[in-house]
Each structure stands twice: as structure tokens, then as C-alpha cells.
Point group: C2
Chain length 434, copies 2
């Protein structure tokens, strides 16, 4: 077998076999297939696409390029969730303990923030002492003992994805559905879950601007998972405006805790109920959506969900008292209101602009490895559809100093589109698959 022939085969529109993909991917990880051949192959995939079985085979060979987690000794259906990322997306911090509180083991590997999007690990680490870089064994033990964990990927998980992504990132081959889908799903497959619920974000603050494209990505990932024996479901949710009110690490943990205690913004709560119901059903603890929602709402109301978050934080070495006293989280020294200039209705809030404003405040990273400031960010007081009067607070900027605050106030004000005509809130759930 020669890499050259496989490039030509894909270029000419044929599907590669699992053996051929294994030859390419393993050869690439080992260094036998050079970068210049792999990048030509990836560009051919961009133009020719991949069949569903081919994408599943690619995912499988990627998943097996390194260490894989075996969660089978843990009783029950182990459930994972994945979000394609957005602005203000603290869903995992709510969902993981919420679903675990119903008796479904949730083993979640998360990432860090980059650019306009935040990362679950950065958020969790704002809790004093909370560790996310733990070994595979410790992860396994925690899921068995506590019922849930949120950790970073171990270094040996899916090396093929790390190397492929680095190459795609510099060769214009990132935005290809089979390559995105196999990248995400290879990590989920290697993570060992039996069931996976996907939250594919769609809109101005998301990777997928367009609902049709988001649906294609969700469908591709469902087909991969099902071909590899996983129980799958997907939700396409709105990311035209930020999710919930808080953007910024400790601010988002604060909001996640409020939601787990039965309060929190309506859109965040609703999305957690929709995704959580899918996870509960796939996890086998609810027969249908009505039953699943009832159990989830009960857990949010009776303290069980919040209690599970405390258990998880404690297991990961963190200060679990934040669950009862979230004001213990880091707080920014400067808080400034952004107010409406005139009466009107909020028609649009530019999620991407707010994500970048939070990054500029120090909440996110322009480049991998940048330090982040846990305390800073933006909290929205008015979302799309709200009626506001001149002088009303639209949002509050939490900054480390006056200079950062001033720049953010301008950016946040510009992110709002306010008009005299009434406006409707956008639908939160754009589609449900599986």
C-alpha cells in the first residue's frame, strides 16, 4: 500500500477502506506518511467528502491511535456529552452533575477555551483547588465512586487527532464535515462512553453559522456513533446570542451553580433539561421525555443536582463550599454598568463580539497557552426580545482595571442592536435528532 495511491483514490472520488485509512493515519502518526502527503489527502477530502461508513472507519482508526478508556467495569450505561462550543456555554457544569444525580454515570472529557469560546476546564479551575488534569485511573475511579467527573484529555488520548488537527489548522482543511465529525467523535469513542449526546451550536457565535450545516455535522456524528455501536442523540441549539447571562469563567460557574439550585437563566435551564432528558433516556433511567424532565426538575429543586456538583468538586480536590456560597469564587475589582441609550427592544446580541470582548478582558485566550483571568467577564441583564428604557442596564462588565473596563463597555454596547420595533426571542432549540 502506498500513500500516493490513497491520495489519488480519494482525489478521484472513491471511498477508502478501513485498512487503507488505518495505513494512512497510523503511518502519519508514526511519521512514515509525511505531512505533505497528508495535507494533500485532507484537501482532497475537503472537496470529495467521505461516505458515512468511511467517516466511521476514519473515526475508529483515529480513536485507536493511542490509549483508550475502558469504562465497561462501571455498572450502567456510561453517558458523555459534547458541545461544539460557543459563548457563555456552561452547560457541562450543570448537566454532568444533574444527570449523574439521576444515577447515570457521566464520564466527561473537556477542553480549554480559545478565541471567542470559553472552555469547561478553565471554568472549573476557578474553584479553589479543583484539579482537571488527572490520570485515566483516577478518572475511572471517580466515575465509579461519585458517578461523574469532568477532566482534561489524557496526553495519550487520540494522538492522531492532535497531529491531524495541527496540520488542518495551517492548510485550510479545518471546515470539512467528515474531518470535524471524526475529530470530535474519535475523542468520544476513545473516552469509553456507551451513549453520547451532542449539542451542536448554530449561529453567529458558533463554528457553524448555518442550521443546515449544523444539521449535517450532527447527522454525520450520529452516523459515526451508531456505526460504532454507541447510542446517540443530538440537539441543534441557538448561538446567535450568548447562552445564559454570564460570559467569563467564575461568572459562568456562579450561573451554573444557580441553575443547579433551581434558579438560573431560563434559556440555560431549558437547554440543560432538553439535553439532560436525552442523556437520562439513553442512560436508561427514564422511559420517555416527560418522565426524564420530571426527574431532572425534581433534582434541580431538591438539592440533589447541586449536591452532586459538590461531590464532584470535592473528588477533584476543590473547595465544594462554593456550591452553597458561590460568592467565594474569584471576583473582579471593577464592575461597570452598560446602559441603553434610548428606549427600544433588543433585536440582536452579537455573540461573537461579546466572546471577543470577554477574551480582551482576560477571560479567554488569543493563543494557546495564554494565561486567563478567572474573575473577569460580562453579565447580560437584557437578552434578545427584552424591552428596555433609556438608562436601563443592558449588561455589566467585570474587569481587572479601568482601562480594560472602558474598552469592554464600548464593545458590549456595540454588540447590542436596539430598535423601536418589538422583537421576539430566537428559538433556543433549532432541531432535535435521534
Amino acid at each position: 500500500m502506498r500513500a500516493y495511491d490513497l491520495i489519488l483514490k480519494k482525489r478521484n472520488g472513491a471511498a477508502l477502506s478501513r485498512e487503507e485509512l488505518h495505513f494512512l493515519v497510523d503511518g502519519f502518526v508514526r511519521g512514515d506518511v509525511p505531512d505533505y502527503q497528508m495535507s494533500a489527502f485532507l484537501m482532497a477530502v475537503f472537496f470529495r467528502d467521505m461516505t458515512a461508513p468511511e467517516t466511521a472507519d476514519l473515526t475508529l482508526v483515529m480513536a485507536h491511535s493511542g490509549e483508550t478508556m475502558d469504562l465497561s467495569p462501571i455498572p450502567g450505561v456510561k453517558v458523555d456529552k459534547h458541545s461544539s462550543g460557543g459563548v457563555g456555554d456552561k452547560t457541562s457544569i450543570v448537566l454532568v452533575p444533574l444527570v449523574a444525580s439521576l444515577g447515570v454515570p457521566v464520564a466527561k472529557m473537556s477542553g480549554r477555551g480559545l478565541g471567542h469560546t470559553g472552555g469547561t476546564l478553565d471554568k472549573l479551575e476557578t474553584i479553589a483547588g479543583c484539579r482537571t488534569e488527572i490520570s485515566g485511573e483516577a478518572f475511572f475511579d471517580q466515575v465509579r465512586r461519585v458517578g461523574c467527573a469532568i477532566v482534561g484529555q489524557t496526553a495519550d488520548l487520540v494522538p492522531a487527532d492532535k497531529k491531524l488537527y495541527a496540520l488542518r489548522d495551517v492548510t485550510g482543511t479545518v471546515d470539512s464535515i467528515p474531518l470535524i465529525a471524526s475529530s470530535i467523535m474519535s475523542k468520544k469513542i476513545a473516552g469509553g462512553a456507551d451513549a453520547i449526546v451532542l449539542d451542536v451550536k448554530c449561529g453567529g457565535g458558533a463554528f457553524m453559522r448555518d442550521v443546515a450545516l449544523a444539521r449535517r455535522l450532527a447527522q454525520a456524528m450520529i452516523e459515526i456513533g451508531e456505526a460504532l455501536g454507541r447510542r446517540m442523540a443530538a440537539v441543534i441549539s441557538d448561538m446567535d446570542q450568548p447562552l445564559g447571562d454570564a460570559i467569563g469563567n467564575a461568572l459562568e460557574v456562579h450561573e451554573a451553580i444557580a441553575t443547579l439550585r433551581g434558579a438560573g437563566p431560563a434559556d440555560l435551564r431549558e437547554l440543560c433539561l432538553v439535553l439532560g432528558a436525552k442523556m437520562a433516556m439513553l442512560g436508561g433511567v427514564a422511559a420517555n421525555e416527560v418522565e426524564a424532565r420530571a426527574r431532572l426538575e425534581e433534582s434541580l429543586g431538591n438539592g440533589a443536582a447541586a449536591g452532586k456538583l459538590g461531590e464532584m468538586i470535592r473528588a477533584q480536590g476543590g473547595d465544594a463550599t462554593v456550591v452553597d456560597d458561590p460568592d467565594r469564587l474569584p471576583r473582579a475589582p471593577v464592575v461597570r454598568d452598560v446602559t441603553a441609550a434610548a428606549d427600544g427592544h433588543v433585536h440582536h446580541i452579537d455573540a461573537m463580539a461579546l466572546g471577543l470582548a470577554a477574551m480582551a478582558l482576560g477571560a479567554g485566550r488569543a493563543r494557546k497557552g495564554d494565561d486567563i483571568d478567572p474573575a473577569v467577564g460580562v453579565v447580560l441583564e437584557a437578552k434578545v426580545g427584552a424591552a428596555v428604557r433609556a438608562g436601563d442596564v443592558l449588561a455589566r462588565v467585570h474587569a481587572r482595571d479601568a482601562e480594560h473596563e472602558r474598552a469592554a463597555v464600548v464593545a458590549v454596547r456595540d454588540a447590542y442592536t436596539i430598535d423601536a420595533m418589538p422583537a421576539a426571542a430566537p428559538p433556543l432549540i433549532r432541531a432535535v435528532l435521534g
Copy 2:
């Protein structure tokens, strides 16, 4: 400017500017643009194509990536020709002195054989003492003094093409019209000619199997040349059966000399007259095709063309007496007839199979750098359309020993398709452009 953005621009279907192509190609030659970005770009070009002005710009920046020849001090319109390569294609050895004998300076850089195709340099070097690796200055002096030269490319000519071709060769990006056209034309532009006549071969023994594709390639090259101020013409000629009768280096020189002396196979003579007429007209020594053909035929008949070959050989250090006594060329020790098994008509001669049979005899190279045997090859005695009787000689194999001879006899016999029904010779000239 970043290579990444240029890859994306091409991938998304836009045309690059000359400045952008210069950045990419020069960066690649210098090593600033890595192979893995260039191969992704080349694959994007394969799928997205290039506009005519873009292909001309690419050709120009490639041509200027190294040394260029300045032939302007030589009086007259300097004419070059290019053949896309085939089996039995000794046209250059006839055409260059033939056209020069009319007073048109012909400055020709040629290549070596690889795979089933032969190379003009290998053929010329079968003449004792004849050098083809000469300096740019010596090349210039010879064209001025003698009126023609056939030499290898100097090492510094179009380094971008050498590096790009090596990458295309291993990344499945060879067969792209703008990449083939810019590769060929960059060398012609750097070679300094004012007018270029292209012989694009088409058929089973050629790179282009299909006449429509050959026409697209010819058209692309004409557009490049004209955009860069060159006078251009192209002929699409048949390569379904070999050109002329001889295949193999000294055997082909023998046939070229015969043709220059007014004899030679009809198809080779006709193609040289068609191409030569174009060269004479572009060179400004004939007003129309009738006049051009008359002057070329006169030169073939009166010894002027053959005399010019002798001058050229002498200038390149070779034994010019071969022009009058071609039996001085190397001769193979074993010559064996291949005969017809039954009566019939020749319907097809597989040019590719004969090219590979000649290569196996030692006339060609399986890999770059392989040695070649100057004497061996195949001479056809019956071409497509011929009526043959059982026992008639179809071809003669010239071999270094009995083992090679036996294998070649089988291959040559298999290359012939003979049927009872009458057959017509295929048209030699498929199209004339410009």
C-alpha cells in the same frame, strides 16, 4: 501575506494575484512556505482550476525563480518547440536543424527519457562525442554562430518547477491542466525564445489520452505564451501508434537523419513539415503555409537540412560524419524479426506497450538515473492500415542478448492487433491551434 490565506482563497474558488503567486512560489523555493502547505494548495488548484491570467502569472513567477536566458542579442525571431512526449518521437532532431536551415534561430532545451517515453538528449548522445550538457553561454554562442542547438536545461533554470514537480509527483497533483501548462511554459519562457510551437501528443502512448484534454492543455499553453508576449502555435498529433518506425535511441537518430536527407517514414516527415511550417511562419521567413512547406521540402531535398544537423553535431563536439554514414551509430548485436501469424490488416499498435518493451530492452529508464543502452530498440515494418501476409515481418527487435530479445519479441507481437477486415491509418494531425 500568509500562505494559509492563499490556500483558503484558492480552495474557495478565487483567483490569486501575481503578487500572491510570487509570495507562494518564491517562499516555497526558499523553504519559507513548507511542503505541506504547498501540497494542500496544489490539491486545491487541482479541484478549482486557475483562470488564464492566473496561470500566466504562475508561469511568469516560476520562470523568474532562477536564471533566465536572454537571446535578444541574436538577430531574428528565436523559435523553440515543445513536444509533450511519446513513443518514437524524434521530431526535435529533424525539426531543429530543418527550421534553422531556413535562417530561423532555434534554441531548444530538451529532456531525458523516463518510463515509456524517450528523451532527445539520450538520442543525441548516441552520436560519438556529442555533448548536451553545456553552459548557458556556450548555448547562446552556438545559436548565434550555427543557428541552432539542442541542450539540457542548465541547473539554475526554473528551480521552482523542479521543486514543485517533485512535490506534485508524490501528492497526486500531476494531472492538472494549469499545473502542467505552467510547468512546461515556465521552462520555455525562461529559455528565452520569442516564438514557441507546441506538439501536444494525444492517444494511448501519450500523457493525454483524450483529444479534448489535449486541446485544453494546448489552449492553456497558447494563452500563457500570448499573455507573456510570445508568438504561439500548437498542433495536436496522434500518439495512438508510435511516430515513425524506430523506437530506441540510435535507431531513432538513424531515422531522423534519413528524414533530414529527404527520405524517412511518411508520418514523421509530414509532422515535421506541419510543425516546421508553423515555426517558419512564426520565425518570419515564410508568409504562409504553402511557402513555408515549399522551403522546408527544398531544404530536405537539397541537403541543407542534413548539413545543418552536421554543423550542430560538430558544434556540440560530436562526430558529424554520422550524417553521411549513419551506420557509424551504435548497433545492437542481436536483431530478430517479429512476423505476422496470419494474413490480415494492422488495426492497432499499442504505443505504450512498445515504449515499455523498448524500455525493457534497455533503451529507456524505469527510474531516473538508470543507465540506457544506446543501440537497442524496435523498428516497425508495418503500421496501422497495412495489409500483411502470414510470415511478413511486422517489426525487428534490436537487443543486447537473446534473453532480452525473446521477451521483446513476445511484447511486440502482443502490441499488434491484426484482423481480417481492412483498416485505415489514424489521422496524424488531430488539430492545429494558432
